[in-house]
């Protein structure tokens, strides 16, 4: 509990405290109340980043969770040879650190020794550069999807395994087909897992930092210092020394994340009852 207080409660309290101050070139640090918050809400860079992670969220998370669910249902269906092999292999990318994943995909995306260049050459096509400004967000989405499909699959799969077999038998006696079983038994039974996975994915999207910050060196034109709110907060404090404003951005993002996670949880649970 003491550790929890030191590394969790104290920083939050401190964060809120410093977000109420402002350091000016002339006059030093002074109490400004909620001025930083007003500034943030009118800051186009902040909205830009927030919009970007929002877009990322509504596109990437459904794709990732959809793939994960598909894989989990397929492995659980008992129709795959070597289901155990599928399960562990699809999961493996989770063991790859985000830094390594971003470096690796960055190389593959790149035109120097990347696969994109190889494919363009081999087939005489012209795939747009994944590290260009138009495609960078999709490229990052692909990296994140790659990292976490297996992880989410495993969460879903674990939830599917604890469904009592008697339910399936009853459904078969009633003449239910596989899709019907999936819709009426499996999906409702793993609703809790779906909600949790969704919440964690949303949190992950809002915290997006490592992948863009690594790729930034490869795509300096496509990734700005305010690419995501988290990156913005980092840039503000460690490149711009604007600790107070940075804390403000971080707190707003924390609040937004918690509210959305809470709403998803409530909605998910209500449908369950």
């Amino acid at each position: 509990m003491a550790v929890f207080a030191l590394v969790f409660l104290a920083p939050i309290a401190y964060s809120i405290y410093i977000s109420l101050f402002k350091t000016r070139l002339i006059g030093g640090t002074s109490f400004v109340g909620l001025e930083n918050y007003q500034q943030a809400l009118a800051d186009p860079n902040f909205w830009d980043g927030l919009f970007r992670v929002g877009l990322f969220l509504v596109v990437q998370v459904p794709i990732m969770l959809g793939l994960a669910l598909l894989a989990a249902l397929a492995i659980d269906s008992g129709r795959l040879h070597g289901a155990g092999f599928f399960r562990i292999t699809i999961f493996l990318p989770y063991a790859v650190p985000a830094v390594v994943a971003a470096i690796m995909w960055g190389f593959m995306y790149g035109n120097q020794f990347g696969l994109v260049g190889n494919i363009n050459e081999a087939f005489g096509v012209n795939i747009p550069a994944p590290l260009g400004p138009d495609w960078i967000l999709a490229s990052i989405g692909n990296i994140v999807t790659w990292e976490f499909v297996g992880y989410n699959m495993l969460i879903f799969y674990s939830a599917l395994r604890v469904i009592p077999a008697s339910l399936y038998e009853a459904a078969e006696i009633d003449g239910a087909g596989q899709f019907r079983i999936i819709r009426s038994i499996k999906l409702p039974a793993i609703r809790g897992a779906l909600v949790i996975a969704t919440i964690f994915s949303i949190i992950g999207s809002f915290q997006l930092f490592t992948e863009p910050s690594i790729l930034q060196k490869l795509a300096p034109n496509a990734i700005t210092t305010f690419f995501t709110p988290n990156y913005y907060a980092y840039s503000l404090s460690f490149n711009g020394q604007q600790y107070n404003y940075s804390a403000t951005i971080a707190i707003i993002m924390g609040l937004v994340t918690m509210i959305i996670a809470y709403v998803i949880q409530l909605r998910g649970m209500r449908k369950g009852s």
Partner: protein
Amino acid sequence: MTTLQDAPATTPAAPKKVKRYSTKPRKSITLTLATGVILLYSVVPLLWLVINATKSREGLTDSFGLWFADGEFLLWDNIVSTLTYDDGIFGRWFLNTLLYVLAGAGGATFLAVLGGYGLAKFNFPGRGGVFAVVIGAVAVPGTALAVPTFLMFSQMGLTDTPWAIIIPSLISPFGLYLMWTFANDAIPTELLEAARVDGSGEFRTFFQVGIPLLAPGIVTVLLFTTVATWNNYFLPLIMLKDPDWYPLTLGLNAWNAQATTNGGEVIFHLVITGSLLMIIPLIAAFLLLQRYWQSGLAAGSVKE
């Protein structure tokens, strides 16, 4: 690929459903193919990493990305260069990472087990509120904590020391959540009551009754906190300036960034080989312990 062809014919449930035979095989093939695509998607980048760890710096640019370069297989040379480059700093980073994992993930697991057990098995007011706090703790963005933690730690003189990494790693809200739900299912309350009736103290009950039952959950939490610490990038990025204390993530990124620095030596082949060396221990741990952590996940982590 044999998997794809054999699957429909040998489906265990097939004989029972002869009446819907016409729709069955087609559906299985679709499912198997779809899963096969996801499998390829997961594996190809890893193959890319292995293959390219065998190439020289020139070979990386000259050869096709998903096949070996002509006439060179330099995996061993690359490993040696990775380990000896810059006075063997890679080994130092590796040991740093191990230290952070042992102290940080080990401690986090211990705290999560204690906390999860307590939350699951002792009734106290406000338990529901704790759930909200735990989920909230997961939700707070890294920067929201990292910036003030950095400022606090720098006043305490802890930045640029291993403590700056270890202390924040000790808290794992996700581990606590996992342990909590696991303990709920895995330990029958009657068993604890029986132990108490027999005169066992709370600590003895915890160690002799609780811990053995929680073992699969503990392995699961340990693996996940290990991954979190092993892969941690943001916290060390903020806390550490001295490359001697870098974990592997920061070190590899520094090597990667050399290419864009003026006068920096381009060592992409070492970055790739180093990346491969970095992920091998984790993959090995997952494969060796899969029986335990998978049952741990299945038994408790995701039930409501």
